[in-house]
C-alpha cells in the first residue's frame, strides 16, 4: 500500500476531473466569457449586459421577487419540515403520513405547476368554478378571485405556496432522519430532570439538529434562487411575478440574446456560490467532529 506511486491516486480521480471539467468548469468559463459579448457573441460589449441586468425594470423586479421567495419559502419549508418531523415522531401512523407529505416531491415541478394552476383557476362569478379555491369561495357566497393576476403580493404568494407544497416533504424527511439520530437517553434524561417538552425541544433537540438544519436551509436557498418551473408554467413571469431564472430562459431561448442570458446566468451563479461555500464548510465541520 505504502509504495504506490504518487500518480496513482490521480489516475483514479482523472475520469471525475475530466467530466467535471467538460460539463461544469468549461461551460461556466465560457458563459462568463460570452456574457461580455453582444447578443450573438460577435462584438465585445464590456459590462453592458451586467449594467442592463442591474438597471432594467423587469430584471430589478426579478431580483425583488427572488428575494421574496428566499424570505418566505426557505423559513417556511424548513420550519414546517421541522415541526412535522418532530411531531410525527409521536404518531402511530408516522410512515403513512410522511409518505403523503413527501409525495409532491415525486411529481415533476411542471406537473405541480399545472395542478396548482387548476387549483387557482378563475371563472367569472356567473359560471361554474373549475378551481377548487374559487369554488370554495363561491360556496361561502364570496366573489371568485383571480389569484395569479393580483399583484404584487397575492400572486407571488400563491406561487410560493406551490414551492412550499413541493419541498416541505423533502425538508421533513431529512430533518426527521436527523431527529431520529438524536440519542433518546439525552431527551429522557432531560425529561427525568424535569425539563418541559418545550425546553427539551429548544435546548437539546434544536442545538443537536443545527448542522442538519443549516444544510437543509442552504439547500432550500439554492433551490429557490434557481426557481423556474413553477413560475414558467403558472404565470410565465407576467403580472410582476418574474424571477431571475425565467428571465434567463426568455433572454436565451425566446429573445436569443446570448450575452444577456449569460450575464444573468453568471449573476445567478454568484448569488448561489456563498450558499455552496456555507454548505461545504458545514460538511467539513461535521467531518472534523467525526
Amino acid at each position: 500500500m505504502l509504495n504506490t506511486k504518487k500518480y496513482v491516486p490521480w489516475l483514479y480521480i482523472l475520469p471525475a476531473i475530466f467530466l467535471l471539467f467538460f460539463f461544469l468548469v468549461y461551460p461556466s468559463i465560457n458563459t462568463i466569457y460570452i456574457s461580455f459579448f453582444n447578443f450573438n457573441s460577435e462584438i465585445f460589449v464590456g459590462i453592458e449586459n451586467y449594467l442592463y441586468c442591474f438597471t432594467n425594470e423587469i430584471m430589478l423586479n426579478s431580483f425583488k421577487n427572488n428575494a421574496l421567495w428566499v424570505i418566505l419559502f426557505v423559513p417556511i419549508t424548513v420550519f414546517l419540515g421541522l415541526i412535522i418531523a418532530v411531531l410525527l415522531d409521536r404518531v402511530k401512523y408516522e410512515s403513512w403520513i410522511k409518505s403523503i407529505i413527501f409525495m409532491p416531491m415525486a411529481i415533476s415541478f411542471v406537473g405541480a405547476g399545472v395542478i396548482w394552476k387548476f387549483v387557482y383557476a378563475y371563472r367569472p362569478a356567473s359560471a361554474a368554478q373549475t378551481g377548487i379555491l374559487n369554488a370554495l369561495r363561491m360556496a361561502f357566497q364570496l366573489e371568485p378571485i383571480p389569484w395569479l393576476i393580483i399583484r404584487p403580493w397575492l400572486n407571488n404568494f400563491c406561487l410560493i405556496v406551490v414551492g412550499i407544497w413541493i419541498w416541505t416533504g423533502f425538508c421533513m424527511v431529512i430533518l426527521s432522519a436527523s431527529y431520529k439520530g438524536i440519542p433518546r437517553e439525552l431527551l429522557e434524561a432531560a425529561r427525568v430532570d424535569g425539563a418541559s417538552e418545550f425546553k427539551v425541544f429548544w435546548q437539546i433537540t434544536l442545538p443537536l439538529m443545527k448542522p442538519t438544519l443549516a444544510v437543509v436551509a442552504t439547500t432550500m436557498t439554492i433551490n429557490v434562487l434557481k426557481i423556474f418551473d413553477i413560475v414558467y408554467v403558472m404565470t410565465n413571469g407576467n403580472y410582476n411575478t418574474e424571477v431571475i431564472a425565467n428571465r434567463m430562459y426568455k433572454e436565451m431561448f425566446i429573445f436569443r440574446n446570448y450575452g444577456r442570458a449569460s450575464a444573468i446566468a453568471v449573476i445567478l451563479l454568484v448569488l448561489i456560490i456563498p450558499m455552496i461555500v456555507i454548505n461545504i464548510q458545514r460538511f467539513r465541520e461535521q467531518e472534523g467532529i467525526r
Binding site: E57, Y122, S126, P146, V233, N236
Partner: protein, 424 residues
C-alpha cells in the same frame, strides 16, 4: 459462454448501427409547432409523398418551438426542415446563416406564378428565398352565432360604431356582448396583440403600420396610443366583456369562444382568427359551421382605409441541404400537398393553384374571399417584430394594460424594450 455473449452483443449493435445509418439516409426530420389535429393533418399531407418516394418523414411537434429549435441549431443538429410560425424567426435564422437558400434548387418560375409577390417577399431575406408558405390564417374576423343574433334581433354591424352601438344595446338588454381570452400559457397575451394590430390597420395608413412594425414610429406615438385606447373601450369595460378584464387574463384563448354557445349565451361576439373554428368544433362537436356559428369581418373604423385584413401564415424553411429535404420542400410548396393541408384544417391556402373546392366548407371559402378582397393585407405585426418585443414586451404590455396598469406606463415599458431590441 461469456465470449459468445460478447460476440452476440457486438453483432447486434453493429447491425443496429448499420440499419440506423440506412434508415437515416432515406428520411427527413421535420420540427413544427403542431400537435393534435394539426399534426394529424401534416402527416396526412406527407403520406402521398412518403408512398411515392419511399422517404420517411419524421415529424416532431412542440409548442415550445423557438426554444427547442434554438437548442438543436446551436448544438449543430438541427432538423432537416422546420415549420416556422413567422417570417421574423426565419429572418433571424437566415441572418445567422443557418438556413438553406431555396432558390438554388426550386423552380422559381413556378413559385413566381403559384405565389403572390407578398408571400415570396415575406419568405425572403436579403434577396434570397428561405421560406415557402403553406397556408394562411385570416385574423380580422368576429365570430358570432347567427341563431343568437336572430333571436335578439341583431344585425351584423358594418362599421366599428355600429359594432359599439350593438354592444351598448346588448348591455342595455342585460346581456354581455364580448367573449375575450388572452391566456395561452407561456405565450399569454398574443391574442391581445392581434386586437391592437387590427385596430392599427383600421386607424392608420398601411405604411404607418409598417413603420410601427419596424419601429419607425415610437410606441409613445399618439396613433399607437389611440389604438390601445380603442381596444380599451371594449376590453376594459366590465359590462362589455364576459367576466370583465379578469376573465380576459385568465381564460384560455381556445376556451373563450365557448361563451357564445351556452344557453342563454354568456356572450355574443368573439374576435379571433380562422383557426379558432377547429377549437369551437372540438369543444362543441354538435355545432354546424355556417349555421350555428359564423363570422363577419372586423368592421372598418376609418371608412377611407376600407376593411383591411390581418393575417398570419405557416412557412417551411430548410436547415439541411439533403436531397430528401429538397424533395419534401418541393412537395410541400405544391398545390397537391396544400389541398390536403387546407382541406383538413380549414386554413387558407397560400398557393394560388389550390382548388377552392378543397376547402372543407363554405365558411372557409368565405374567409378566403374576405382575404382576397381585403383593401390591404398585412402580416401579424408582433410576429415580425424582434422577439423581445413581439414575443415579449408587447404580449406582457397588453396583459398589463388589461390588468389595469396605466397606458402611458405600458407604452413606456414596451418602448424601452423596443429601443433596446431594434438596435441589434
Amino acid at each position: 459462454m461469456f465470449k459468445r455473449l460478447i460476440l452476440l452483443v457486438s453483432v447486434i449493435s453493429l447491425i443496429s448501427i448499420f440499419s440506423l445509418g440506412v434508415l437515416g439516409a432515406s428520411s427527413v426530420t421535420v420540427l413544427g409547432t403542431w400537435t393534435g389535429a394539426e399534426e394529424e393533418a401534416f402527416n396526412q399531407m406527407v403520406a402521398p409523398f412518403e408512398s411515392q418516394t419511399g422517404i420517411d418523414v419524421k415529424f416532431t411537434g412542440t409548442r415550445d418551438l423557438p426554444a427547442v429549435l434554438t437548442a438543436q441549431v446551436e448544438a449543430g443538429s438541427p432538423p432537416d426542415l422546420s415549420a416556422l410560425p413567422n417570417p421574423g424567426q426565419m429572418a433571424e435564422f437566415a441572418r445567422a446563416g443557418k438556413l438553406v437558400d431555396l432558390s438554388t434548387f426550386m423552380d422559381m418560375k413556378v413559385l413566381g406564378s403559384d405565389y403572390s409577390p407578398t408571400w415570396l417577399d415575406l419568405g425572403s431575406y436579403e434577396g434570397k428565398l428561405f421560406g415557402v408558405f403553406i397556408s394562411a390564417d385570416l385574423k380580422s374576423l368576429v365570430w358570432y352565432s347567427p341563431k343568437a343574433f336572430a333571436q335578439g334581433g341583431y344585425a351584423v354591424p358594418k362599421t366599428w360604431d355600429e359594432m359599439l352601438a350593438l354592444s351598448d344595446q346588448m348591455v342595455k338588454e342585460g346581456k354581455t356582448p364580448w367573449a375575450i381570452g388572452f391566456e395561452s400559457g407561456a405565450a399569454s397575451g398574443w391574442p391581445g396583440t392581434d386586437w391592437i394590430e387590427d385596430i392599427m390597420l383600421r386607424t392608420v395608413e398601411p405604411e404607418v403600420y409598417d413603420l410601427w412594425v419596424s419601429h419607425g414610429i415610437s410606441w409613445l406615438d399618439e396613433r399607437v396610443k389611440r389604438a390601445f385606447e380603442i381596444f380599451g373601450q371594449i376590453a376594459l369595460n366590465e359590462k362589455y366583456v364576459y367576466g370583465g378584464p379578469n376573465a380576459i387574463l385568465t381564460i384560455n384563448f381556445g376556451d373563450s369562444p365557448d361563451a357564445l354557445f351556452t344557453t342563454p349565451p354568456n356572450a355574443y361576439m368573439h374576435r379571433q382568427a380562422t383557426f379558432i373554428k377547429s377549437f369551437i368544433l372540438d369543444h362543441n362537436p354538435q355545432l354546424v359551421p355556417g349555421e350555428d356559428f359564423d363570422f363577419f369581418p372586423l368592421p372598418p373604423i376609418d371608412a377611407k382605409l376600407g376593411t383591411p385584413a390581418l393575417g398570419a401564415a405557416d412557412l417551411f424553411a430548410a436547415f439541411k441541404n439533403t436531397p430528401e429535404a429538397q424533395a419534401l420542400i418541393k412537395y410541400i410548396a405544391s398545390p397537391e400537398a396544400q389541398e390536403i393541408w387546407v382541406g383538413k384544417l380549414g386554413k387558407l391556402s397560400a398557393n394560388k393553384r389550390v382548388n377552392p373546392a378543397a376547402y372543407p366548407d363554405d365558411l372557409t371559402r368565405k374567409a378566403a374571399k374576405i382575404l382576397s378582397e381585403a383593401s390591404t393585407f398585412r402580416f401579424d405585426g408582433s410576429d415580425l417584430m424582434p422577439s423581445a418585443v413581439g414575443a415579449g414586451s408587447f404580449w406582457t404590455g397588453v396583459l398589463d394594460y388589461v390588468s389595469g396598469v396605466r397606458l402611458d406606463n405600458v407604452l413606456m415599458t414596451i418602448e424601452a424594450s423596443a429601443l433596446d431590441a431594434y438596435r441589434k
